[in-house]
């Protein structure tokens, strides 16, 4: 009754005009259709849908409005809600049936109601609700004019008043901006401070006493350049810069997060990155290899192995491999790969476009699926025999002849070792059997007690040994030498475009999207043969000099590591809501030069650190601070706390304990006690537990220690837990730097810091006999500068009071001080 009245009133008020104004001839509604809509459809929509999907919604959900005909048909984030005549293809019906989405969320509507909607859509979804939704104000019409999407320019060097200050092109840009604002750069840092700064920035290690003395005494005008060249050429350079790169990878020596699966080949990617930085691999090649190394042409077997290893980039993040729904797992992995590559290389957050057009940036949903198509055509994991587990693909690496020879020899030795263990086991079992028999024969007579005990002792020892041999044989067989392998990806057999997945649901599919690039930054469409994934073409596009984002993003990342803040402060995000560049011309000039120099990161790093801008001290200036408190214009150097790796490596260096490793496996899987579940019948896959370490591991640089994703960093890597190490499931172009009490407690009370203090004091006592000399040495070692007079006085009275532990206590105090933890 009520609805009949509603209809009557409604017809009276609006019916006629609607029917004649906007509907096409085919859509003219009959009274019967109208009645059906008003009686069966509209009340349900009003009661169950409008709260979230209409103009009156407090917050519109899924961008879907169901209170207008147009918006209902157009749909929201997930696609067209109503396709007239096609109930099964209409998302609204799928959602009401709880097939893809589940709507309304509080509970499924009765079947009768769903049947009404099906019938209504079959009729052509006759709908009198005219009207247009107001255009959305939050979305820019077109973000294409945003600076980061414009071609990179090659601006000329600006002029400056103080022509004596610049040492390099960079300095003209920096000084020009300061002069524009009426500011002056502060004075230069003293030589000690500069050397400490550049040593930490380039190698993650403090300068040695010899290096300090050499540099301070070098009066050549090129002393700074010489120091830089020495640092850039050292192996420590790659060890430092590789770790910064790994922050963008989500690297860990663990597959996924569940059950401690070991990523036994992960270190090969890590070593690849170290070598890439040390060999100054052109950065565009570095990018191409990480996206599509398996598809690139290579000049040698070694280069091919390297190139395949590089694709570890795509799979060494936090891939969840224990999802029971494998199709869902696959689309989630694709998502991670899209997000990771676009964020690391392009500085964009494309992930939002998985479900809807990006709200701020000109990245339509179709662009996301255009890129996702490359990874959709790529295999990253395979289903194992165990339970619901998958694993990352281990790709075989090509071997040189020499490599094959070495492996054959290793296999032979390994087989011998196993044979020897088996032989020992056989003999031990036999002997044990004999002993069992003898013990039985002796019987329980008390007079034979001593003899029996002796035999029993030997037998028990043998039993223990047999148990140990069993474990070692299983372990040795599991880890037998094989063809070298590494984690990587490969193209699928039948590459294909991807279809839009509604809200990431692999079974709620929308349109197919041809593989392609971001339309805002490209007008090319790749031409692909049917057998190609297109990853190579994607890599070429990312690493192209014409890409407006890549070179800028890379240059800005490197700048940030050296100057503390990026020219664009949001280093991982160059989109519309990111920061504007503080020096846009400088950014473009650096990017242009970088590309011209063959994408050489060593040249770039060198040009930055020999600049005058890098040479300033970090002291305060009242006037400049008032005008530019955040130092965006670079009137002084930025001070920074060292990161976790630099703190630990510096502790090892100053206490004289640093062990120079050449890389290799991070996880000590060679110890059987560190490995579990290698028995193939287990439901869970092989896993690790780090109980035993190699003797030298506590002393290697932090980059060589295992990175664990799901637990606190273990053993010698513990310091990472305290000093803002990037969670290896996360992604951080710039790490957080925090100051929390756990750090203070660690510095003051942890056994690790105490041991370093002790080792440092022993070093002092060994290297200098007089207290005065020791103090000089201590300050030079730890703070990398001479001790000041008042500090000497203070230290001497400290030593007098502290008594026998004085030196250790003093060392402890110094390595817990801000000046050691900071790079000024």
């Amino acid at each position: 009754m009520k609805s009949a009245i509603t209809i009557a009133i409604w017809l009276l008020l609006f019916g006629a005009s609607v029917r004649n104004s906007t509907l096409t001839a085919e859509e003219q509604l009959s009274d019967q259709q109208l009645t059906f809509f008003e009686e069966r459809i509209r009340p349900v929509l009003v009661e169950h849908c409008y709260a979230c999907h209409s103009e009156r919604a407090k917050k519109l959900k899924g961008e879907l409005r169901l209170d207008l005909r147009d918006t209902s048909r157009k749909g929201g984030e997930s696609g067209a809600a109503i396709i007239p005549g096609k109930p099964d293809a209409s998302l609204l019906i799928q959602a009401m049936r709880y097939e893809s989405l589940e709507m309304p969320p509080k509970g499924k509507l009765p079947d009768r109601v769903v049947a009404d909607f099906v019938k209504w859509i079959e009729m052509g979804a006759p709908d009198p609700r005219d009207g247009k939704a107001a255009p959305q104000s939050s979305r820019p019409k077109d973000g294409r004019d945003h600076w980061a999407f414009q071609p990179i320019q090659d601006p000329a060097r600006p002029s400056v008043n103080n022509a004596g200050w610049p040492l390099s092109d960079i300095d003209y840009f920096v000084l020009h901006r300061l002069e524009q604002e009426g500011l002056k750069p502060v004075d230069d840092a003293d030589r000690y401070t500069w050397l400490r700064r550049v040593s930490f920035d380039l190698t993650g290690l403090p300068p040695t006493v010899d290096e300090i003395e050499q540099f301070v005494e070098n009066t050549s005008p090129h002393a700074h350049e010489a120091a830089v060249d020495r640092l850039i050429a050292s192996r420590a350079f790659g060890e430092r810069w590789a770790r910064l790169w790994l922050d963008l990878v989500g690297y860990a020596d663990q597959i996924g997060t569940s059950n401690n699966l070991f990523a036994e080949h992960g270190w090969k990617y890590r070593d690849y990155v170290i070598d890439a930085f040390n060999d100054d691999k052109p950065f565009d090649r570095f990018i191409r290899e990480q996206i599509a190394g398996d598809l690139l042409d290579c000049a040698s077997v070694e280069a091919r192995a390297e190139s395949i290893t590089a694709t570890g980039f795509l799979v060494l993040g936090d891939l969840e491999v224990v999802e029971a729904d494998k199709e869902k797992m696959r689309v989630d992995i694709i998502d991670q790969q899209v997000v990771k590559t676009t964020r690391a290389f392009l500085g964009l957050t494309v992930g939002c476009a998985r479900c809807h057009d990006h709200k701020f940036d000109p990245i339509p949903q179709r662009d996301y699926y255009a890129i996702a198509g490359f990874f959709h055509s790529t295999e990253s994991t395979y289903k194992t025999e165990r339970g619901v587990w998958s694993d990352v693909i281990a790709r075989q690496l090509p071997e040189t002849e020499a490599g094959q020879g070495l492996r054959a020899e290793r296999s032979r030795q390994h087989a011998e070792k196993i044979a020897a263990m088996k032989l020992e086991r056989t003999e031990a079992s036999k002997r044990k059997g004999d002993l069992d028999k003898q013990i039985q024969e002796i019987g329980k007579a008390s007079e034979a007690e001593a003899a029996r005990a002796e035999l029993a002792k030997e037998r028990d020892q043998l039993a223990g040994r047999i148990g140990q041999l069993n474990r070692e044989i299983v372990h040795a067989e599991f880890f037998a030498p094989t063809v070298p392998e590494t984690y990587g990806v490969q193209d699928v057999k039948k590459p294909a475009n991807m279809r839009i997945t509604i809200r990431g649901n692999p079974r709620a599919l929308g349109d197919e999207v041809p593989r392609g690039f971001l339309t805002v930054a490209s007008d090319i469409t790749p031409s692909l043969s049917p057998s190609e994934s297109g990853r190579k073409q994607f890599a070429d596009w990312v690493a192209s000099p014409k890409n407006p984002l890549t070179a800028r993003v890379v240059v800005n990342r490197i700048w940030q590591k050296l100057f503390g803040e990026g020219l664009v402060r949001s280093v991982d995000y160059f989109g519309l809501r990111g920061e504007q560049p503080s020096h846009p011309e400088l950014l473009d000039q650096l990017a242009t030069k970088f590309v011209q120099d063959g994408w050489s990161q060593k040249s770039l790093v060198r040009s930055l650190v020999v600049s005058h801008a890098y040479r300033m001290n970090s002291s305060h200036n009242q006037q400049a601070h008032a005008a530019d408190p955040n130092n965006q214009l670079l009137w002084r150097a930025n001070r920074r706390r060292l990161d976790a790796e630099a703190i630990r490596d510096a502790l090892l260096a100053v206490s004289g304990q640093l062990h120079r490793s050449a890389g290799g496996p991070a996880l000590p899987l060679e110890f059987p006690e560190n490995v579990a579940n290698i028995d193939p019948t287990n439901v869970n896959p092989p896993s690790f537990s780090l109980g035993r370490w190699r003797p030298q591991q506590p002393f290697v640089r932090t980059i060589y220690l295992p990175v664990i994703r799901s637990r606190p960093q273990p053993g010698p890597a513990e310091l990472r837990n305290v000093f803002d190490f990037t969670q290896p499931a996360g992604f951080a172009g710039k790490r957080a730097v925090t100051a929390v009490p756990t750090q203070a407690l660690f510095l003051m009370n942890s056994p690790v810091v105490k041991e370093h203090a002790k080792a440092l004091s022993e070093r002092l006592l060994g290297e200098a006999s007089e207290p005065v000399e020791r103090l000089e040495l201590l300050w030079l070692c730890v703070l990398n500068r001479p001790i000041a007079d008042d500090e000497r006085t203070n230290a001497r009275s400290f030593l007098d009071e502290a008594g026998e532990n004085g030196w250790t206590e003093l060392c402890h105090g110094l390595i817990a001080s801000n000046e050691f933890l900071m790079r000024l």
């Binding site: 969320p105 001070r639 499931a729 925090t738 203070a744 001080s817 900071m822």
Partner: protein, 474 residues
């Protein structure tokens, strides 16, 4: 949104300069509540979005996935067909291990109506059953993954992978702290994966501080809280030296937020050194209270101490205290093992609710009890040949039970129902995102307005999801 902005935290320089005494002196001043203390208010209390029902949360995390079919949601259909193959309405997209026969398995012990509300609770948890009328049971919970690691992460952070702030961090971020001498988020016997108590892109002061019930007199509850091998005089001397060096450097550079922050963090560390042992020392609690929590050297002792500590921490103003209690992953022999798991938590949890209530704390404290998912109503047998009496149950993401108490939820309410199998919710469906939204709501926070920006995007605990479950609000 202005109330949610990060307050300037490093304003310590003046106070430090004014302090003529050494570093230790400053720390001590902090403890006695002088001006130094006011100046070090690092996590000031923020004004919430709307009137709050709860001020604090105690989250009891049942790691492993407790069996709701045995504890809270028995199904006559399943009991009737115990041991028989049933036509389970399962999702064909999921791989399965050990459940191929779909043998219905009834509850391992009777589940009965309790109290005036008639809430269904198992005989295995008599103490929790005795506070049934204080609980608000959600039987239509569901989540997005059935593996421990991702499901646990989603319960804590809303996401299945990645690294996003934990709910305790969100609450610390949203509300600040009530006690300057303690962290605002403490996690007792923390879950393995550090992300479950990490603050991700929120500042590290919002991260959970792990705490362990000290195993001995000498052990400390927080890692490196003490340096037991060094005399107090030597420790003080060391500190004063560090402080002296730090102050001189700060004088040299004149101003540096970072350095001031480090100096300040040392101060909080030393206030914690004084405060924490006092808080974890249970010797002042009465015998009756210890008994209430099951602290008797037997199977519930460890959890009892943890729950009592949680009450003490919460009482002292810690915003979010989590206690993790494991042992719920019953893939086999649930008949035997569930009894022990329940015995380990029943008194501690029942005791906690009673204790909070009698101290008048329950109204302003929201207690949340949850696993990362539930367990299947049919049995699991990994060997494929064992008798049903030795079977366990498989993980279940489609439905499980969670309960809340205090803090503005309807006491005695059973909300939501599952189908005849206890497999899918048929009404009162509550996703983890909805649970998070509701929890924030009770604390006076609007989950859609608590949106810090990071990497060009606004983040929420509930991502783009979540509805407040208004039906359960008191």
């Amino acid at each position: 949104m202005s109330v949610m902005n990060q307050l300037p935290i490093f304003s310590r320089r003046e106070a430090l300069k004014a302090a003529a005494c050494g570093f230790g002196g400053v720390a001590l001043q902090g403890l006695t509540g002088s001006t130094a203390r006011a100046a070090t208010k690092t996590l000031a209390v923020h004004v919430p979005h709307h009137a709050a029902k709860a001020k604090r949360v105690i989250f009891l995390f049942m790691a492993g996935g407790p069996s709701q079919a045995d504890l809270f949601d028995p199904k006559p259909f399943i009991t009737k067909h115990h041991g028989q193959t049933i036509a389970a309405p399962v999702d064909d997209h999921q791989l399965r291990v050990g459940v191929e026969k779909f043998l219905a398995m009834g509850p391992v012990a009777p589940v009965r109506p309790r109290g005036e509300s008639g809430m269904m609770i198992s005989d295995l948890m008599p103490n929790i059953a005795s506070v049934a009328d204080d609980l608000c049971l959600l039987r239509g919970m569901y989540t997005d993954n059935k593996a421990h690691a991702p499901a646990t992460l989603q319960l804590h952070t809303g996401t299945l992978a990645e690294s996003l702030p934990s709910m305790g961090s969100w609450i610390s971020y949203g509300l600040g702290t009530e006690n300057d001498n303690l962290p605002s988020f403490i996690t007792i016997h923390p879950p393995e994966d550090v992300r479950n108590y990490g603050s991700s892109f929120l500042r590290a002061r919002h991260q959970g501080t792990p705490l362990n019930v000290p195993a001995s007199e000498k052990a400390s509850a927080i890692k490196y809280l003490q340096d037991p091998d060094t005399s107090a005089i030597d420790q003080r001397r060391r500190l004063d030296f560090v402080q002296h060096m730090n102050r001189k450097l700060l004088d040299r550079v004149e101003t540096d937020a970072q350095m001031e922050g480090i100096i300040e963090s040392f101060e909080l560390a030393f206030r914690m050194q004084a405060e924490t042992p006092r808080l974890v020392d249970l010797s002042g609690e009465s015998q009756e209270t210890l008994r209430l929590y099951g602290i008797d050297g037997k199977q519930a002792d460890r959890n009892g101490r943890a729950c009592l500590l949680a009450r003490r921490m919460s009482e002292a103003g810690v915003r979010f205290v989590q206690v993790t209690m494991g042992g719920w992953d019953h893939h086999g022999n649930i008949r035997g093992a569930l009894r022990g798991s329940c015995a380990g938590v029943d008194k501690p949890i029942g005791g906690l609710i009673k204790d909070l209530k009698r101290r008048g704390l329950l109204d302003e404290t929201l207690v949340l009890w949850s696993g990362e998912f539930g367990r299947s109503p049919w049995s699991q047998d990994l060997s494929g040949t064992s008798p049903i009496s030795t079977h366990g149950r498989e993980h279940q993401q489609e439905s499980f039970c969670t309960w809340m108490a205090g803090g503005g939820v309807k006491p005695g309410l059973t909300y939501g129902n599952t189908d005849d199998f206890g497999y899918r919710p048929i009404d009162g469906k509550v996703h983890l995102h909805d649970l998070h939204a509701t929890m924030l709501h009770l604390l006076g926070l609007d989950h859609e307005r608590l949106t810090p920006r990071h990497a060009g995007r606004d983040f929420r605990l509930t991502d783009i999801y979540g509805d407040v479950v208004r039906e359960i609000l008191a």
